[in-house]
């Protein structure tokens, strides 16, 4: 059949790497899950760490309460990493770790675990996410201020380029920017600006003035930078976005960094498709969304993903079970092995529509990159970018609220038969055993008691010394690996660096957010707030807070901005608050109502703890909760004293704020307006 003019490739392409973002409860339980996944045809690992591990806290830290083993696996020391990788040959495996602030530490643990298997670090393959700027912008698991965070990243790049040459030390993430509301143009522009900040910092670690050797290393560095992108359901434009990123990346390499080797200039990316667009209402619709989004990153050969992981259909409901994740893996396998996508050269080559879309996105992205550059680069522009994202997200929500943007099953075609998928006792999600946390606390205490304390102290002292050093030839990876070997814990490593670098809170972006346009509904609400203010004597005041370590602040930010636009005084404190902090703020600020947001699944422990702290402080104001709260937990929260619970299906934010205003009126015995 094949001829000179065959449109087919001479040989079918090899499939992309298939992963599942997984991990929960304990290292041992996660190891079993990984081995089962690999047996099902998964070709790489993608480790989900729990929030204490991601933010540098041990399980027995106050802030870790309720979060241990929830959204991922706790890895506290080399023993945990060894258990996690037991029976998985690390010389063959390609492992992606979603780890950022503590990436250097987790890579060090991985290197030490490999040593135990007799595998040298030069053999290791995989990726540490390690993109701290997007943590400040969107995801919230940062640990240190921007400057030392950039230094940690630069040190890791400099170290891996020489000693772990097959490792991707950083995955520049545009993924989370889209989750935070970025438009395609913003996603491209901020990711590229972010890459520039990282590459500039890395160049600084390679020695100046640039020697020929440094220039050669710069090529290696550029070639090792990969991206982690998102793909939404508008999959044609999303594909164009990836083509545009490829063009910008190559241009950046040639023009800014003098890279010439074609292999180094290739835009390499992994992907997790969009979670923001997944709905709680009629969750089965998410399956087709995920399939279509997968097309964005596989259809065109010139911009095809190197590695794919797909979310599960029930992400907006809670944590997915192994079976849910298997379904997502099977989507990839059908696409790769049953369809013909891998049989052709680039199918969009020569398409005027595709070229036009790409050109449009490139123009927009270049203009936005220039704005970031004017702010002094991505590190300096975090506040600007954050505010822009909060604005974009607000506009997106507004389009959904008004029905301009259709979300099937949520704001249109909402009539539905009862779903058999969510009918089970657990509502079709994974419930992490609450006993896990206590076990992990016991385990880390036993680990500390059994190790050689002097060796750990010495290693941490050396870590602190290097952290304080201003000599750019001193690389933090060296004492980090030594501390991992000595048996230090995640919390100890991070605390040592916090003491040197100082703590940090990222900008919330809400203060700068532009006011909502005054639609009729909002105007009515403002009048109601004004009426309430008259009766109360003070402007209705709300505290919006995120207890625990969960950094997903988009929802809380949107509530805060809308409450302000409705005329309320809003105390917004951002992420990572202890129950005691929330109680102190509520008391001292004299708020009329408290709104708490949790998406990490720790609401069962944290919400009652916050309410307890509030009542002990003498605060009687009502509490409302928003987040990913499974149906069966709503009653539990109400029993604990929560006045109302909002979940992703409550997408109309003005209505939520109106409810809250009515609640304040009711609790203060202000009769409803007629």
């Amino acid at each position: 059949m094949s001829s000179e003019h065959s449109p087919r490739l001479p040989e079918r392409d090899r499939p992309w790497m298939m992963r599942t973002y997984a991990g929960h409860s304990t290292a041992k339980a996660s190891n079993e899950l990984y081995r089962r996944n690999l047996a099902k045809g998964q070709t790489g690992l993608s480790i989900a760490f729990d929030l204490p591990t991601q933010t540098g806290h041990d399980p027995d830290d106050e802030l870790a309460r309720g979060e241990v083993g929830k959204v991922g696996v706790p890895v506290c020391h080399r023993g945990d990493m060894e258990a996690l990788m037991e029976g998985i040959p690390l010389n063959e495996m390609n492992t992606s770790m979603t780890i950022n602030a503590t990436a250097a530490w987790l890579l060090a643990l991985y290197i030490v675990a490999a040593e135990e298997q007799g595998v040298g670090q030069e053999m290791l393959q995989g990726t540490t996410q390690n993109d701290i700027l997007k943590e400040f912008l969107a995801r919230g698991t940062y640990a240190f201020p921007p400057a030392p965070s950039m230094r940690l990243i630069a040190d890791m790049i400099a170290y891996t380029v020489e000693h772990v040459p097959k490792w991707n030390p950083i995955n520049i993430c545009s993924y989370h920017l889209q989750e935070a509301g970025a438009t395609p143009v913003q996603e491209i522009a901020y990711a590229m600006s972010n890459a520039i900040a990282v590459l500039d910092a890395a160049r600084g670690r390679l020695g100046s003035p640039p020697t020929p050797r440094a220039q050669e290393l710069m090529g290696d560095v550029f070639g090792r930078i990969s991206f982690f992108v998102n793909a939404g359901v508008r999959f044609v434009e999303e594909h164009a976005k990836l083509r545009a990123m490829g063009i910008l990346w190559e241009q950046l390499g040639r023009e800014r960094y003098g890279v010439q080797d074609e292999r180094h200039l290739r835009f390499r990316y992994g992907v997790q498709v969009n979670s923001l667009g997944l709905t709680e209402a009629q969750p089965e619709n998410n399956v087709q969304r995920i399939v279509l989004e997968s097309l964005a990153v596989t259809l065109g050969r010139d911009a095809r993903a190197r590695a794919i992981q797909l979310p599960a259909w029930n992400e907006a409901l809670g944590l997915p079970r192994p079976w849910d994740q298997q379904w997502s893996l099977r989507i990839q396998q059908v696409l790769a092995y049953e369809t013909d996508v891998l049989e052709y050269p680039d199918i969009f080559e020569g398409s005027k529509v595709m070229d036009g879309l790409v050109a449009e996105l490139l123009d927009g992205a270049r203009a936005e990159m220039a704005v970031v550059a004017e702010h002094g680069g991505a590190v300096e522009a975090v506040g600007y970018m954050k505010a822009a994202l909060v604005d974009s997200h607000r506009e997106r929500i507004h389009r959904i609220e008004s029905g301009e943007q259709v979300v099937v099953g949520q704001n249109r075609f909402t009539e539905s038969e009862a779903s058999p998928l969510t009918a089970g006792a657990e509502g079709g999600i994974l419930i992490v055993d609450p006993a896990v946390e206590a076990e992990q606390i016991e385990a880390v205490r036993a680990w500390r008691a059994a190790r050689e304390e002097a060796a750990v102290d010495g290693a941490l002292e050396e870590l602190a010394r290097v952290a304080r050093s201003e000599d750019s030839s001193e690389n933090l990876m060296v004492p980090t690996i030594a501390a991992a070997r000595a048996g230090a814990t995640t919390g100890e490593w991070a605390r040592t660096l916090r003491e040197v670098f100082g703590g940090y809170r990222a900008p919330t972006g809400v203060g700068e957010a532009t006011p909502s346009g005054a639609d009729e509904e909002l105007s009515e609400l403002r009048e109601e707030v004004a009426r309430l203010q008259e009766k109360l004597g003070r402007r209705p005041k709300i505290l919006v807070g995120k207890p625990g370590l969960d950094g997903h602040s988009n929802g809380a930010e949107q509530i805060a901005v809308r409450a302000r636009d409705a005329g309320m005084d809003v105390i917004y404190e951002g992420i990572r608050l202890t129950p005691a902090q929330i109680a102190a703020s509520a008391l001292q600020e004299g708020v009329h109502v408290i709104g708490l947001s949790i998406l990490s699944g720790s609401h069962r422990e944290l919400i009652p703890a916050v309410i307890d702290a509030l009542r002990k402080a003498g605060v009687t104001a009502p509490v409302v909760v928003g987040g990913i709260i499974p149906e069966q937990d709503v009653a539990l929260l109400k029993q604990a004293g929560v006045a109302a619970v909002y979940t992703p299906k409550d997408f109309d934010i003005t209505r939520i704020v109106r409810d809250i205003v009515a609640l304040v009126a009711e609790r203060n015995s202000v009769p409803a307006s007629v």
Binding site: V510, V570, Y572, G590
Partner: protein
Amino acid sequence: MSGAELGTRLREGDLSAAPATLNLLESTAPADREQAKALLGEVSPASLGGEAPGHIIGVTGPPGVGKSTLLSALLRAWRGTAHEVGGQGRTVAMLAVDPSSRRSGGSLLGDRVRIEFDPADSGVFIRSTAAGERLGGLARGTRAAAQALAAAFDVVVIETVGVGQAETEVADVADTVAVVVQPGSGDVLQFYKAGIMETPDVLVVTKADLGQIALRTRRDLNAALRSLGVNGPGSTRVLAVSSLPPAQGIEELVAALEEHREGLDVAGRRLKARRAGALLDFASENGERGMRAVGGRRAAERLLEEQDPTLDTAALVAVLEQNASERG
């Protein structure tokens, strides 16, 4: 709880009365306003037998200058128990005035989280309040609260944002005003040189870790103050601090604030503050018409100067109102 009870608790040093005090003083409901007068009466110089002992400090500066980090460092120094090095064991109340726009009437008050403190520490009280109607202005509740809290807390900080108008407003209630600038703040320097701004009691140059630029800024500010003839003993001090670890200059700043207060005629300054506050309150309640009814601003000032110096602000407002109705 009644206003009088709250006032009594403050007078007796009960810090836990602070949240309810603020709720009351911020309220515009007529019944609350009566209770607020009773509260303020209980902490007036007449009831206290002298001025409220707390040190009222205004801290102001443009956004991004590092005020929150500086206040965290100051808080640590003030709160630190007496046996810690430099620790003072003093109780602190902070009123953080947020300038956020009130286009919708609402506001986003997000700054308190940037001030680090132990939430279990009952010796610290932080309250965010929206600014008054005028740019850089203080809401009436904030001025009254500063005076009331000074009866119970050792230190009362009013934090405002901006340079220029804001510090004049703060100067009306604070014993000591500190303006915070960052290295390279040439514009601030120009304001002082041109005499547009009154010079504060203490000028703080932050980010001293930036080295040469910070030192140069400090030198320039000193030179500018000398040329204005306000550089000498008892006048504006200029200090360079770094709030990031390792912190520098914080102890010196604490000492400089303290020295200013020791050299101050507290009674005189507080009396001035009460009179200025009464004028503002009267004007905002009664408008220009009210002011004309007492014979204009100068006449009002003279009338206030004739009153018993231990009267509190509310009592002074009452004097003006009575005078206005008698003349009217």
